[in-house]
Symmetry: C2
Subunit: 263 residues, 2 copies
């Protein structure tokens, strides 16, 4: 089976022009097919602030009202996505930016929660990934750059977690590709001691994850991220890493693994 890298980057890379440029350079030297999934960074929050659109958070989760969705669509699918595509084109990576609506690549379902109205938030599943379309793009030598906006096929755009998109895409493609899923975030990997940047856990299995959660060492936003990684593992994704964008570069250049491997 052909190798396919699915790489997710978050705010820390997107918000920093110099980091983003370094990362784009790394991608250009990858020499393997990849799909890039990106979130939004603080640009969307900044824009909401400038436009006096209050950001509602319930239990640490952002509520996507109509105005917030508009901003997310402009920033994720517009500004960030097209700038990444243009930067990759400069490096002769024939990239193509996509929301879930484009080519119906990912149909989502609006989240219905008994107590909390999350607003225009969409959840995705493996069976709603348009494999054929992605396959046409990849076979044509195109590199999909996927933002965290999906749709419900009923005309409504939806905000979807980028970590989940990466996990679900990796799972959907694992039957036809040897998928390597890589989460790039601000740390070098999952840390054994949050105070020590170098205490990276080299290998994280399910039991250790449960233990570290109980001990409170792995907490907050790391939990859903790692859950997404284990979902992908359960769905047949063979190689899953959590590392920094800088270590990702190191990984490519040296073909060694720096960061946390999920297994």
């Amino acid at each position: 089976m052909k190798t396919l890298n699915i790489i997710k980057i978050g705010g820390n890379v997107i918000d920093d022009e110099s980091k983003l440029n370094d990362f784009i350079q790394s991608l250009a030297s990858l020499n393997e097919p990849f799909i890039l999934v990106h979130g939004g960074g603080k640009l969307a929050t900044d824009l909401a602030e400038k436009l006096n659109i209050p950001q509602q958070l319930i239990e640490g989760r952002r509520i996507t009202d109509a105005e917030t969705l508009k901003i997310a669509t402009m920033v994720y699918a517009g500004y960030i996505n097209k700038n990444i595509v243009a930067k990759l084109q400069k490096q002769n990576i024939n990239s193509i930016g996509l929301s879930g609506a484009d080519g119906n690549v990912m149909k989502a379902t609006k989240r219905i929660h008994q107590e909390i109205d999350y607003g225009f938030v969409g959840d995705i599943s493996i069976e709603n990934v348009n494999f054929n379309f992605l396959d046409i793009l990849l076979q044509s030598g195109l590199t999909p750059i996927i933002c965290a906006i999906t749709h419900d096929k009923q005309g409504q755009l939806l905000n979807t977690n980028a970590d989940t998109i990466a996990s679900v895409l990796a799972s959907a493609l694992a039957t036809s590709f040897q998928v390597k899923l890589m989460y790039c975030f601000e740390k070098k990997g999952v840390l054994n001691n949050p105070e020590d940047e170098n205490s990276v856990i080299k290998n994280l299995d399910w039991n250790t994850f449960q233990k570290l959660k109980e001990e409170g060492i792995i907490n907050k936003g790391m939990i859903p991220k790692i859950n997404n990684a284990f979902d992908a593992l359960a769905n047949g994704v063979k190689e899953i890493g959590i590392t920094s964008a800088t270590n990702f570069t190191y990984f490519i250049k040296n073909n060694t693994y720096e960061g946390t491997r999920i297994n």
Copy 2:
């Protein structure tokens, strides 16, 4: 040769949700392959105003500074493009939104003018249209929705006139498709008497165009629009119309031509 419609819509359709929905319905009943090209409408101007970004106009032409380009990218490639795509997906039109950077579909050259610095404005030409990529999409049953943002292949996004994009695309595709190019704007067609909405010129040839320009009957923004139409005619596009989005619907339903035909 297969028929391919290239349809350009402007602000009057985009800014009005109900008009846009009607237009999307018309497209869904077209039953012929098409490419939609859209501009920005007043949403970009509104956003610039809200963000206190002054809009510079020199000789009636907008200057695209860095902040204005950012807004154009967010609004055209993000908000408008993805909403049109989602609306078409609802109608089972498998649409895909593109800027010129996506799949390198249109490479532009930053405009250099001796006296005026237009900023991040790009000019396009037939030879820089990526025919192969568009052909792959069309052969895969996809419908490209193209916004007025291009790139220079050096990492820079550029603002490009949507009328020109439609004309250049039509010209580039005319060798392989029987292209019908349709400009939809706020009037029923080119008017013989600007005061009379019903004085639509049925057929406009080059000599009549020159005469009406001299008489001042055709003026302002209509001149570059019609020039774009005649450029397409010179490049082998057989059928070119200027009409309203409403008449476009009429045209589809009755297969008769209401509006101005360029010949």
